[in-house]
Symmetry: C2
Amino acid sequence: MMEPPNFSERTDKEQVELGLDFAPRFDENGLIPCITVEDESGDVLMFAWMNQEALQRTLETGKAVYFSRRRKKLWIKGETSGRIQLVQQISVDCDQDTLLLRVLMKKEGACHRGYRTCFYRKLKTGSTSELEYTEPDRMFDPEDVY
Amino acid sequence: MMEPPNFSERTDKEQVELGLDFAPRFDENGLIPCITVEDESGDVLMFAWMNQEALQRTLETGKAVYFSRRRKKLWIKGETSGRIQLVQQISVDCDQDTLLLRVLMKKEGACHRGYRTCFYRKLKTGSTSELEYTEPDRMFDPEDVY
């Protein structure tokens, strides 16, 4: 059982950057960016946002909950697809305005397009305009899931 | 010599999400979030933003150039500290509104606080309020550099 989330509001630079109080800084829209990494491989799976409630729910449940800017509501990752993210670790950056989650997915496929990671395309070597796939195999068919 | 950057403006969902045209989508402030990863380890080093010019300069020079929201200007990473980031790969996410850079730093220490990565603290296991260090050793003393 985790203690109830209780974020520090200390904003002095020394504490924010070097201190040990968790004091996440939400932006003017009440959001904080969140990078989600596969715990085992360290690969970046996705990028999303949390508001304070999403972060609290993530901490309380141990499962990643984001805030959908498009739908303007909490987004319990995996609620529809079953591909939930079990949070293994949460880090903050130097100025505590970005979060980094390490997650375990028992069913892989973090991306709504069926890929393991949302970053399934990269710029071709030497090109500034053409992409190529780095994740050729989908983990699921979106048509079957959404 | 790279071709001059020439981003596609095609916005149809099929192309953006599954196509091979690089069509980065900047937000209402003209910015796109950028996750920067150490190429060799895959560890996340930092999170920053680019505007179109920063991305073009990054592509032209092969060195990471960001946009500082605080200073409201281009931020050539390593210009002051000498800790430049040589870009090895650029990926985009499914909806092409987030970038992922893999970089090589000949002089380590991506964080202005002297750490290898900006994510040098994590929530203590079982705690929702207390951080602990994961990167105890600084690569440089900020006082000597800035």
